[in-house]
Symmetry: C2
Subunit: 158 residues, 2 copies
Amino acid sequence: MAEENVPSKEHWLSIGEIAHRSGVAASALRFYEDQGLIASRRTAGNQRQYQRSTLRRIAFVQAAQRVGLALAEIKNALDSLPEDRTPTRADWSKLSKTWRNRLDERIAELERLRDDLDSCIGCGCLSLQRCNLYNKEDRLATRGPGARLLNVGIPGEA
Amino acid sequence: MAEENVPSKEHWLSIGEIAHRSGVAASALRFYEDQGLIASRRTAGNQRQYQRSTLRRIAFVQAAQRVGLALAEIKNALDSLPEDRTPTRADWSKLSKTWRNRLDERIAELERLRDDLDSCIGCGCLSLQRCNLYNKEDRLATRGPGARLLNVGIPGEA
DNA sequence: CGCAGAGTTCAAGCCAGCTTGAGTTCTTGG
DNA sequence: CCAAGAACTCAAGCTGGCTTGAACTCTGCG
């Protein structure tokens, strides 16, 4: 109980430790720092030191990425957390709820797509006029390059 | 009824027509062709001509992208279709079912994530030992750069 | 004290999925 | 027959999210 509450002697972690414990490469951590997602202080010899709570932030970043958010969006969200004082339960809770909405939306979207797919299996995609999938794309035209959806199992790998 | 069945006089479409009707930019269509996703024949003057069925292929590509597949994977799937003869209902049906599995998996994954998020809201992410989100990331470490998840509403735009 | 191993900073590279631009050629209606 | 507009081919560029490499510096055990 007296472990996170007592800020007495913070135990700072090196980038290597953070990398190891979070599973995120050190290069990625530096990148995150550049992007303002995490912060560090430096030792006399200019080496990064992280607070324990950074692990939590990183976990959150990863979860958010899985939900489908871009780093910039994640940064925005994290910026709403108090920079200095350790975030309270309520702080995280608020963030999580936003994520939850996104997730629900995304799940709903995929379910819609699945239903369309079902009807598509029925129609065999032969009656172009009728097929939901076919007709839908008219309005989609998702603009811009870059990330689109999940890519489970990296294509070029294995 | 005698419209898709009778192959008598194929009506070929220019890239402009295909672009307009599919909502996909001509440049993207050329790119798809480079990648082997669609095919065209050429006029005497070297301009592309597409079959009507190409629209269907494109619709399929778009749907698959929404499901979260990379173009390379989509190509693989499409390659299992008969290149020459117009795909039958059974052909598409088979493909659609694979998609459907992917979709189900993806939906399940997001639901799991949502549940974790719920429990995370409960724990407030304060008990690091217990939090699902937190502990999960240990094993995730999704490798490789590039597309990850959906990005609804392009970050840099609007 | 010495040296290996961990860290540091740039800059450049990579992959996906396209777009943009330059320079050229086809096609077609008036 | 000719000009406008549609298409063609490259090559280069762009966004995200990192990784890789080179060239150095710190830190800590023996």
